[in-house]
């Protein structure tokens, strides 16, 4: 093999190797310059904005709200047992726990199933467990700031409907299918 060819291959290989590094860095550029808004992101963002708008000024476009209701209705109509617990608001947003018949404890204590990092939560705040028929029950464990199902503060163990939010401090939890 001629000297020239080998030199070209040598430099070519280094160029290709560096090209790979540059391409890899391009892929993670979004870490440095913020995330790209994708379709899903924009819809979700719209959902959030709509919620905030609804909170601040009640005049949200009716069709969007209908869409949202439709989603909720779809969730409730199934009548099957919920399969997972989802954190929808608060620092743990996005955490899911599979429901497999076990008791789920919530609180700041380290041995809780979901360790809440929330200033308004007690160390043993609440628990969620299935009763004999498989209906999921939420019970407040004498917390300081209370546990809210929908909008009412819990005083007794209460069955949970899928999709109804359980509020603990700034954290909101839901059961989903």
């Amino acid at each position: 093999m001629s000297e020239l060819t080998l030199t070209v291959m040598r430099l070519g290989f280094l160029a290709v190797l560096w090209l790979f590094v540059i391409v890899a860095v391009q892929v993670i550029r979004s870490d440095l310059f913020g995330t790209r808004v994708t379709q899903r992101g924009s819809r979700r963002e719209a959902g959030r904005q709509q919620q905030q708008a609804a909170r601040q000024q009640p005049a949200a476009p009716p069709q969007q709200r209908n869409q949202q209701r439709g989603q909720q209705g779809g969730g409730r109509r199934g009548r099957n047992a919920p399969t997972k617990l989802v954190v929808t608001e608060g620092t743990l947003t996005g955490t899911t726990v599979a429901l497999q018949g076990q008791t789920i404890t919530l609180g700041r204590a380290h041995d809780s199933t979901i360790v809440l990092d929330d200033d308004y939560a007690s160390s043993r705040h609440a628990r969620i467990y299935p009763d004999r028929d498989g209906q999921w029950i939420v019970e407040d464990l004498g917390s300081t700031n209370g546990t809210y199902l929908d909008r009412s503060r819990l005083t007794t163990p209460t069955p949970i409907q899928p999709g109804s939010p359980i509020r603990i401090g700034k954290t909101v939890i839901e059961l989903r299918k």
């Binding site: 060819t5 040598r10 290989f13 280094l14 790979f20 391409v23 993670i28 919620q51 929808t88 989903r176």
Partner: protein, 483 residues
Amino acid sequence: MSSTTNPPTHHTSTIGAIGAPSRRNTELALLVFAVAIPVFAYANVGLAIKNQVPAGLLEYGLGLGLLAGVAHLAVRKFAPYADPLLLPLATLLNGLGLVVIWRLDQSKLLQSLPHFAAAAPRQLLYSALGIAMFAAVLIFLKDHRALQRYTYISMVCALVLLLLPLVPGLGADIYGAKIWIRVPGLGSLQPGEFAKIVLAVFFAGYLMVKRDALALASRRFMGLYLPRGRDLGPILVVWAMSILILVFETDLGTSLLFFGMFVIMLYVATERTSWIVFGLLMSAVGAVGVASFESHIQTRVNAWLNPMREYQLSRQVTHDGILHSDQLQQSLWAFGSGGTLGTGWGQGHSDLIKFAANSDFVFATFGEELGLAGIMAMLLIYGLIVERGVRTALAARDPFGKLLAVGLSGAFALQVFVVAGGVMGLIPLTGMTMPFVAYGGSSVLANWALIGILIRISDTARRPAPMPAGNPDAEMTQVVRPS
């Protein structure tokens, strides 16, 4: 938007239907690139050494491509939201490692050594096993939080793994370091590589529970937060453990790796700079103390301080009973003769290192044949893997996942530093392997498992958050409505 139509892999029914940016296609494109580069290098080695494209090019390319494809499909199926970079980066390093091992197999000098056996086919087998390990981690570890349950079992496991090489009849003393065990019929295994991962699980689980006590209960003294005596307990135990490894297995690298990993995780868990100061002081004291009486370590330190003298001694007949080795000096010469742009694939003389040229000293071959430009790119690739690991830790929501990701990527970074620093003469040489590129089954298997766990954590961390349901307060305030 009904949840029944979604495949079971989608954990959030509302999001799955819209389609989240999983970036799996980016990963696939990068993987194709990452397979093409080693194939190019392979052809280049053949052209440079034998003046022809090597006969096994197609098989090699297909083999590597198949492995990458299997790994990609496993990620697509079992961790669809995982980081898109980890797999291509690891695949590229593994492919380049295979090429350089095959290139050293072609060396006439190494072939003339006793006990020569072609290493490349076996490394390809190890890589296949590594990918299988990677897929197994993704399949069987559905949620990394499950590992949290085995905190103390992991501790026992790690200790057993570390002590195995000391068991008489099972351990093997290879060139002064007792870090191997012999498995009948399978060859030898380096349990320390696996202990690294198991120990990270233990540290993460332990520190998650104890971090408040470690971070908050302290006295301030000269600008540093001094921990209480009783909180020093665990760090002292780990320190003693790593010193014991150093004394009984004469393995400086593993000892440094474990203690360094613990200090990194302790710092991340508590945000206290004092732990780093203590850690550095303690490891310095320990290393100097052990080096003062352990002859194996002394030899390493002497070779590091004066490699040329060691080279000359290795050429003469000495009667001091110490095995003098010219490896480090040969390695430094290899880096030097590579220069900025390298000699080109297959045209260096790194085979002069002879023993361990394709394992501990594999980086010297890269240094000679790819030059400074090449090894900088490789170190950046290692750096990117570590960066993705730390990014995963930042994105992870649970403290255990955060600590585990930091610990694993910290151990990976430390290992690269210890090996690269060793062969370049920055720190005393230790018997460790460069992750993914060095010849060795245990190392490849353990590092693929490590990448598998990082991918699992990043999948959990990057999984899009479920859509919040209607806020009951918002419903109530919607009283006035333009009709």
